[in-house]
């Protein structure tokens, strides 16, 4: 498992624990001081990430998922999640 702290510019501190294998995510826990409405959707976002290939379509698919499920997030974006899972960035 990899643990990263990541604070997007102007966003909230994300504390993510994950495990990736090539382009799939086998473990993913999303924690932090962000806001999400409704709050009960955290697990569904974690499930979405676990079931989605990490390719160039990931961000679009996640944004679509958020839109379809009427989930609003303040403090990070789908782009941030993709960046965390696919690069060594930690800020």
């Amino acid at each position: 498992m990899t643990f990263k702290n990541f604070k997007p510019t102007g966003g909230k501190l994300l504390r993510i624990e994950y495990k990736t294998n090539n382009k799939s995510v086998s473990e993913f826990k999303l924690r932090g001081d962000f806001f999400m409405h409704p709050e009960s959707c955290l697990e569904s976002i974690e499930d979405f990430v676990l079931n989605t290939i990490l390719d160039s379509e990931f961000t679009n698919k996640m944004n679509q998922f958020l839109l379809e499920n009427q989930i609003q997030i303040f403090g990070f974006t789908a782009e941030n999640i993709y960046e965390i899972l696919t690069t060594n960035q930690c800020s």
Binding site: K12, L13, D33, F34, F35, H37, P38
Partner: protein
């Protein structure tokens, strides 16, 4: 229409959040907006809904110091609550506030800005959820929406002891602790630092309740916790004291 007003005084964190949730249920059932003022005693640490207790708070140290550690219903960051803070909860049907969440934060914070202005303090709202005075944070706010009702609670700092705060809060990088504490000292302030004399809790209740009522165009009406609500609070308090809730993530 009435804005029901209640001052529950100083209580434990588990009581305070159980009280918020019980009133949230009440507003869902009745459609009657409620404004509550309260404080924390004993000192407590709270974490945002999406935070991990083990990542944010030295809960063993907190336990030894009899500091209650509780997860909130709302998002946001870890906060240490002591007796130098003034806290409000506005629990109101969604139809009273902007649908857009960002706009609703600003809308609900406006009466706090108005009250500070009456004290001669020219504060400003800083998206998403803060109020700043001379570019220093003086108030943090957090919101949840459930069953057509908005619950926004927030803390107005009267005095700040950053060293005490960081004695129990963990930091992402321990090597950077001193730098972080110094940075927070520069970025946070309490309103008593900017007033000629210390403001009393009751004076803030009076000032803010008037400002909230004017802003919402509602008439204030006193509200008490009846037996039914007290029973619900006692029941919900068990949740806020449980590891199942507090260590959920």
């Amino acid at each position: 229409m009435q804005l029901k007003l209640i001052n529950t005084g100083f209580n434990s964190a588990s009581f305070n959040f159980a009280c918020d949730e019980a009133i949230l249920d009440y507003v869902q059932k009745t459609g009657q907006p409620v404004l509550r003022f309260y404080g924390f005693n004993p000192t407590a640490c709270t974490i945002g809904y999406f935070q991990g207790m083990n990542l944010e708070i030295d809960h063993k140290k907190a336990s030894m110091a009899s500091v209650e550690c509780v997860r909130r219903l709302t998002g946001g960051g870890a906060v240490m609550h002591d007796q130098n803070q003034f806290t409000y909860s506005l629990i109101i049907p969604e139809s009273f506030v902007p649908k857009n969440i960002q706009e609703s934060y600003e809308f609900i914070c406006q009466p706090i800005l108005n009250a500070l202005s009456k004290l001669g303090l020219n504060a400003n709202f800083a998206p998403l959820n803060d109020i700043l005075l001379n570019a220093q944070k003086i108030s943090g706010n957090a919101q949840t929406r459930k069953g057509g009702v908005v619950l926004q609670h927030g803390t107005l700092l009267l005095d700040v002891d950053v060293d005490l705060m960081f004695s129990l809060l963990l930091v992402p990088d321990e090597k950077m602790r001193d730098k972080l504490v110094a940075s927070v000292k520069k970025r946070v302030t309490g309103i008593n630092n900017h007033l000629q004399s210390q403001i009393k809790f009751e004076d803030l209740v009076s000032l803010l309740s008037t400002e909230f009522a004017d802003h919402l165009d509602l008439n204030l009406e006193s509200f008490d916790l009846d037996v039914e609500l007290m029973l619900e609070i006692k029941n919900l308090q068990k949740k806020y004291l449980s590891d199942e809730w507090n260590f959920k993530y």
